[in-house]
Symmetry: C3
Subunit: 337 residues, 3 copies
Amino acid sequence: MQFAGSHILSISQFERADVEQLFTVADAMRPYAHRRRRTCVLDGAILGSMFFEPSTRTRISFGSAFNLLGGEVRETTGFEHSAIAKGESLWDTARVLSGYSDIVVMRHPENGSVAEFAAASRVPVINGGDGTNEHPSQALLDLYTIRSELAGRERDIDGLRIAMVGDLCFGRTVHSLSKLLSLFADLRVSLVSPEALKMPAEVVDNLQAAGHQVLETDALEQGIADVDIVYSTRIQEERFASREEADLYRGRFRLNQSVYTANCEPNTVIMHPLPRDSREGARELDIDLNDNPNLAIFRQSDNGVLVRMAMFALLLDVADQISEHDAPVNWCTERRF
Amino acid sequence: MQFAGSHILSISQFERADVEQLFTVADAMRPYAHRRRRTCVLDGAILGSMFFEPSTRTRISFGSAFNLLGGEVRETTGFEHSAIAKGESLWDTARVLSGYSDIVVMRHPENGSVAEFAAASRVPVINGGDGTNEHPSQALLDLYTIRSELAGRERDIDGLRIAMVGDLCFGRTVHSLSKLLSLFADLRVSLVSPEALKMPAEVVDNLQAAGHQVLETDALEQGIADVDIVYSTRIQEERFASREEADLYRGRFRLNQSVYTANCEPNTVIMHPLPRDSREGARELDIDLNDNPNLAIFRQSDNGVLVRMAMFALLLDVADQISEHDAPVNWCTERRF
Amino acid sequence: MQFAGSHILSISQFERADVEQLFTVADAMRPYAHRRRRTCVLDGAILGSMFFEPSTRTRISFGSAFNLLGGEVRETTGFEHSAIAKGESLWDTARVLSGYSDIVVMRHPENGSVAEFAAASRVPVINGGDGTNEHPSQALLDLYTIRSELAGRERDIDGLRIAMVGDLCFGRTVHSLSKLLSLFADLRVSLVSPEALKMPAEVVDNLQAAGHQVLETDALEQGIADVDIVYSTRIQEERFASREEADLYRGRFRLNQSVYTANCEPNTVIMHPLPRDSREGARELDIDLNDNPNLAIFRQSDNGVLVRMAMFALLLDVADQISEHDAPVNWCTERRF
């Protein structure tokens, strides 16, 4: 994949080499995102941030990533009511709006809409989520987090043992992550879900076709033993056929510190796409895990900034110029709390 | 007109020399808007963008124009509910908000409101549209587009032959454009509309008083023959007295490629204020014109950025300093799609 | 108080020396806020502006203050509906969102929420108003305005004579201002309100414990005689027990030019937290005071920018570096209206 001047619409565009190139650039973004240095490599560039569906953290994460590279952000949130009511096509909208910026990130409630917009756009477009279809930066930040967490252990994604837990049927994140994992070698994937919320067969087939070992179970304790990563997702009660079925599984996929201690290898990393439900009785990840150093959920959201910076740097082809345009941070980054 | 430190509230402020000065500055903005160069001439300046009525593209166009000059944008969209509910006057609102920026662009649903705000403002104010009253940057970008399209043909606005098509009675854009055209010489203006939606007599009188030739017709084919520009606008069915009258005119003001080929001179330029209705059966400009190189509607919206950059540069008196503060663009502007 | 790397959540954090330090820095911000000079001391820094409750002017004032120091602003307005609906805790929200910026300003409708957010934040947080609880920048800009207005008269806050007028029971601003005034010496405070809307006893006790003289009255004429400052606030009719009681006080706390001339010392300064009600019959400060040079209400809102710039400069520890990163303003700041 040639990044410069392209769109990022789907993780299907990515070969293993593309993922590795993106992650290498993301690594180079750490000093800037962690505020040891600052860069103005994109000084003068404009991001058009178009969130036709609300998603506060994805929107801010992309916007901050662009600011961290020195660029400006022009934002739209909510629908363009007037133009749509007047019958404007997405093609026209794209021709017009793409004239206002150097690159666009777009979120839209309808599947396929971002690709349709990109087809008419005159600047690169990043898909920030189009309905239930794709959200490539989320899948990439998940994989980047796995790689980062393992790196400290002298391990790589090849050979990874991972458990995915929760609603594997409707959860977009686990499908996309599985697709990316298929690019790597020798994985063991535990799929832990209620029978009714199993991973779709094609996703499983795809993992197996890539040579990975797949285990399906509805027993959390068994699924999370002997893995490097537990990737937990929420189960929405309304996904079950009946209240009785929902009750049957209540609490059976929740991870807390005692379940962790009893079943997981030491240092098993805990991930989650966030937001997590922290209400009493509804937890997918108990708050008693907050002090567990292997809880990686906030490192995961932090990594989103790195991955999005890397996307911008590659599509606009400035990855090689960043250190030419950098300077030390001159404000206080130490905390008194 | 002395631009520096002034407001732009109405096209009535403009003499021919002012329009020409603005357009000369807009021409000079091309390298920056087209991303061959960048400038930071307004580095440190703040635009207060106050859209008390939604208008996504006008808002983004102004914001991007200010960013392209190096300035920052602080935006407000929607009404200031709390203050208005508490009985604050627009005078007080203006005194407060004008203290937060170096220049203001404001859109407001009520006629005259922007001028009222400007009267209390301590910084220059640009009218971004006040109800059905004025929207000077739209009229100016329309005229700038006419000038740009003709320039490639060694022609000027003087001597222009233009057809305005559609709802000429309620359309603000064609009234404002006509007013600006009165500043130029020897035009021939074809006004093509249903009888019920004719151009108001005072607008026609004004054009004739300026020495222009005016033809009124309800026959599209006749009106668009022998012109340099067709300026199309939409006709809202609810403007007609009855459904029967609306049906009578259905489709009779739609321009498509075959109507164009049959009636227009080669290279007749097609304009439209956008958004256009692209739904089946409701088209004012058919999508089969999309490949016609004379369809100027997206160049028109692009020109809006140039004209707005010129407004900012003139009101803040930095037009002469732009090239002192410029640099090449260092990111990729070539596209792979 | 050590500002660098801290939160500002409550005026209770402030000792007299802290207030004086903040005000000295605010004074140094004048050339930048008044656009004689510009500074890029925070070039590369990002403010996360999170207004979970609307407050247009507080939001823009903080945003402009950060821009005036050279930083970027990423804004959120309205509630994060999706995450809250999914049961995310404020702790999680704070862990995630604080990873996207260098400093946060937050407004939230619930008392205590900003402190709760700050407890989980990884960057300094400024309370931009949490329900009826605290709004420290408002109290500080009020006190800064008192100091500025007196400075021209060779006077200081010590020895100040001030009248607070209106709803002293429910008005957050007068409680916070009283708290700050307790840090100074030898004040005389006139409290002018309807009996039903008297200043809470603990606020009065606190003023007296600081050695100040307190007078309580429901007679405006008496209360505003012999003072340096009249601080007026609005009275909402719904605060009274009955319509009859409201009617009894109607108009009795309104200040206009003739009441001012008849009762106030020359040069008595008039303040108000804004917005003021300018509707007929509902005025707390009559618009006939608009030409009175002692009406300080818009200088007050302007001072908000200075105080907020000072907060940012101190929390991020760049107050000493500002003049190293400054330049003249190169755009026109003279006005033609």
